[in-house]
Symmetry: C2
């Protein structure tokens, strides 16, 4: 079943009415409204028309490996060519390097639609952005000249070679070694696993970014350096010599089966160091905000796509009696199905608003001329990046799961397509830092780490949104203010308590993150209501957003009570459960 | 990865210490403790030794259909033979029909272990029990003599042919027709879908129970009659004539891929009516309690099996620093992982107690000589059956999902085995009445339908458990009493509010069911603590149960706050969200 429709109307509403583009962007005068609208529409057309039709077939076929060469599913190479020809690879890249220089907000919108259409496909170009950022900020001029233009155009794809069997979340355990060569380059030896797009047939060359250890390196993460090692040396043409980098296996996975997840063996492969020795991890961290936002958009994409399937099914399938009539009634008339769908809509449309608003903070942080505005955007970004990554990827799984439930028995059948979203969405909660790591990052580093300064910025923003809410949303504004107080109160309590018990925050970091996510969505719904109030009262979009906001506050936000109650119990140790094991 | 270990110690603790078997059973004097212990242990050995090794391979191979014949995965026919030879098919059946007459509690324990080992396999014998009950209670003597002995022994398997493309949850839409024949039998014509074990190579004959409509039947569910139609006529041997029943297709499913889910075509197939005309649904409802409990045990089985995988992994994998040391530390030392695992343990061990206690109510209701005791057990059973079905199957998905998260990236790989539990567990929330239907059954029929009499019995039991809790559990007993009051208060409020708005309960039935499930687990943890207090203080089992009970009340039960808060918002309509669609 392929019926994905890009959420163009909602994106336009969010980008223009809620975020106020282009005027609200520092470099907004270089952009016009019409161009932005066209980009959104074209992106939607590309995703729905080119990527979505390959989603189910890609899952069925998966990738195959023979003699070290990986073949992607039918249609993938042509779709990738269309992606490059459409200029999508270069959308938000620096114009000086051949990019289009459009705002990150639009890249985020594109990322959502791509993931909704074909998550597995997005894994190939998805990591090129990280390579682009690392090379742009840390590469020598020679490396930039050699690699960047082809990465920006999409002619070459890139990988991030981090994980090793013993080093997953814990990169300090990386063992891959880099030995210096006489010519200034390095010989890289080691085995990397879970490498997305480590080998494939989409591009002539593949540019591997590799974390490895030099002979003099200290142990742990402080001893890691970053290298670039291309599949083909010299000019990177197919006819050029192969580097000693080989795909030794493909993983069999629960989902994103059309993405080649490779075991990569480097056997004295030639590479070049990016940036300073032993500063590899710092170079990686630089691109983490964008990468985590990107993963959050994958969660959102699955939630949206699965929701679309469920809504379409509920609007055509008749089963049972919803009310007093004879029936059978449409599923969409049953209150229990309405709950399944309306909860999802409130989460998806609120989540999209949050994600785009977060992306907008990247644009401000990178381009604003006002230091105070940059600082403020940086603080919001620091706080919200782990929230967007973890909360929206959980939302991806939850919404796909609820959407499947709307289908009843048909949802469990492969042909419906909804079960693929549930399988594919699952990985987004693991990679790019597991959601548990995101929660620790939020609570320990961002909230408790700086004495509450970063959280205070966010709480300020929540209160400002409550103050700016329209009159009819006054009870919702009050709830949002109460939630802001609760967040502050809990964080202060956690700060005090953790003085005696350093493990305490880690026990409830997950609930704290979810609470922050629910609070952030409350804030966004107030912003959405304010934007809706500026439209005519009887406009379908305005009416729909008001109804959904009410729904969110009544039927979804009360989850926050559970999160807060659990956080308050954080004093109870969890290790006793393990000590008492029979 | 096949490492399932049957939870023998926990089962013994629950059956003997918490439920007080055999003395607490009406027919307890016919049973001895040693026999019960042996049955549990033998069942565990069979599941772990015979069924579990076929779980991953069965998923990989799946079933195949050629010329109307279905081939199950390698090893399945031999495992099924071992199942029959071990007497497992007949465990809880009537001794007069060749059964062993053991309590339903033991059947439930066996069902959990079978599902944990190999959910797909359980689908074949899983429906024979329903056929057994329907024939036993409603079949003529001739039909009983012809079919029951071979069903009890397991020599023949059975199906339940209910669903049709247009009739899933809504059986009133069934179109399959039955025309009378001159000899008193019937000609059945129609297409049934999602028929588990509709065709396979495990038994010589397959006994189909079919819901169909006679020519004079009124529309809707009141016009359905129940028929039995075997694959082979006459003596049911392979050499006997084939009935006109044909498997026309196998479904491709997200999970339980080794279970043959068939499209079955009846083309003037010969069948015999079971019971009265137009009373087919009543005959089906009779066996629903046992069938729903069985599905609840599947959820529990997945939760247990996935938890075992996660615990084993967390006890051997080292990543990152948990505390102040240099690391890398075991995952089990990280508070965030401890939360993932301890939450699951509290849910699984509490859920197992609830399920077995519910099964025990069936034994009491069926065998007690005391009318008051039977009535009481019937009331608890009526209330708890939808809770066990829905809450424990949700627990199955949730625990498999959390267990996968403990594995990080490895969890997404097929070889780990944990992702199969997540896929397989999903169907249990849909079949045998979707969880939304269970929630409506609980709230509308069981709670609001009889003016609170049934709920009052349950609340009484919660209070009695609180009164009987040991002194050290006094704050937990207080929480349980408060929860009992909350359940009563909410149900009264819902009763009042629904007078004006009949749709209101349906909007929050899911939260009401979850709240009831959380409350039931609180009650069971108090019962468990009372039993643990009767053991020596420093016994590992007693210490472990106390720690887990505390964990449950601090870290899991607060979810009830969210459920209650959402129920209280039930006045807000949900259809406006749909009316306002852009």
């Amino acid at each position: 079943m392929n019926s994905y429709r890009a959420p163009i109307e909602d994106l336009r509403f969010l980008v223009f009415d809620v975020l106020g583009l282009p005027e609200s962007l520092p470099a907004g005068d270089a952009l016009d409204r019409e161009l932005i609208g066209q980009v959104i529409e074209e992106a939607g057309r590309f995703c729905a028309g080119v990527l979505a039709p390959l989603n189910a077939s890609g899952d069925r076929e998966a990738c195959t490996l023979a003699d070290g060469e990986v073949r992607t599913p039918q249609g993938f190479p042509a779709a990738y060519k269309a992606y490059c020809d459409g200029g999508w690879a270069a959308l938000a890249c620096d114009p000086e390097l051949g990019g289009q220089g459009l705002p990150i907000v639009l890249r985020a919108a594109l990322d959502e639609m791509m993931a909704a259409s074909n998550h597995a496909f997005t894994m190939y170009p998805g990591l090129a952005h990280g390579a682009y950022e690392a090379l742009r900020h840390h590469g020598s001029d020679a490396l930039k000249a050699r690699f960047l233009p082809n990465i920006v155009s999409g002619e070459w794809l890139a990988t991030m070679c981090l994980t090793e069997p013993q080093a997953g979340s814990d990169l300090g355990q990386i063992r891959t070694m880099a030995q210096p060569r006489a010519d200034g380059s390095w010989s890289i030896t080691g085995t990397k696993i879970f490498i997305s797009g480590g080998e494939h047939d989409l591009t002539e060359n593949i540019v591997h970014l590799v974390l490895a250890r030099t002979p003099d390196a200290p142990p742990g993460t402080r001893g890691l350096s970053l290298f670039v090692a291309p599949k083909h040396l010299d000019d990177g043409r197919r006819s050029d010599p192969r580097n000693a980098i080989r795909c030794e296996g493909l993983e069999h996975k629960m989902g994103i089966r059309a993405s080649a997840t490779c075991v990569m063996r480097f056997e004295q492969a030639q590479g070049w160091m990016i940036g300073e020795p032993h500063r590899g991890l710092a170079a990686m961290f630089l691109m983490m905000n964008a990468a985590r936002l990107h993963v959050g958009m994958q969660g959102l994409g699955h939630a949206e796509a699965a929701l679309q399937l469920a809504r379409a099914y509920a609007a055509e399938r008749r089963q049972g009696r919803a009310g007093a009539g004879a029936g059978p009634d449409l599923l969409s008339a049953h209150p229990s199905v309405q709950r399944l769908i309306a909860d999802q809509r409130a989460l998806v449309e609120g989540g999209r608003a949050l994600a785009l608003w977060t992306a907008y903070q990247i644009d401000v942080a990178e381009t604003s001329g006002d230091a105070e505005a940059r600082q403020r955007a940086d603080a919001l970004l620091a706080l919200l990046t782990p929230v967007v990554k973890a909360f929206l990827t959980e939302l991806g799984s939850e919404c796909a799961d609820r959407a499947l439930q709307v289908f009843g028995g048909y949802g469990f059948m492969v042909e419906t397509g909804v079960e693929q979203h549930l399988r594919d969405a699952r990985i987004a909660r693991i990679y790019e830092g597991t959601n548990e790591i995101q929660a620790l990052d939020l609570l320990r580093r961002k909230v408790l780490g700086d004495g509450g300064a970063t959280l205070a910025r966010f709480v300020e923003e929540m209160r400002a949104s409550a103050d700016a809410a329209p009159g009819e949303a006054s009870t919702r504004a009050d709830s949002t203010r109460a939630l802001a107080d609760e967040l502050l109160g809990l964080s202060q309590w956690l700060g005090t308590e953790s003085a005696d018990d350093a493990m305490l925050p880690a026990r409830v970091a997950g609930e704290f993150l979810r609470l922050t996510g629910l609070a952030a969505l409350a804030m966004m719904w107030l912003k959405i209501e304010a934007a809706a109030a500026r439209r005519a009262d009887d406009e379908p979009m305005a009416r729909s957003k008001r109804a959904l906001s009410m729904h969110y506050f009544d039927y979804v936000l009360p989850q926050a009570h559970a999160c807060a109650a659990i956080v308050r119990n954080a004093r109870t140790p969890t290790d006793t459960v393990f000590a008492g094991e029979p």
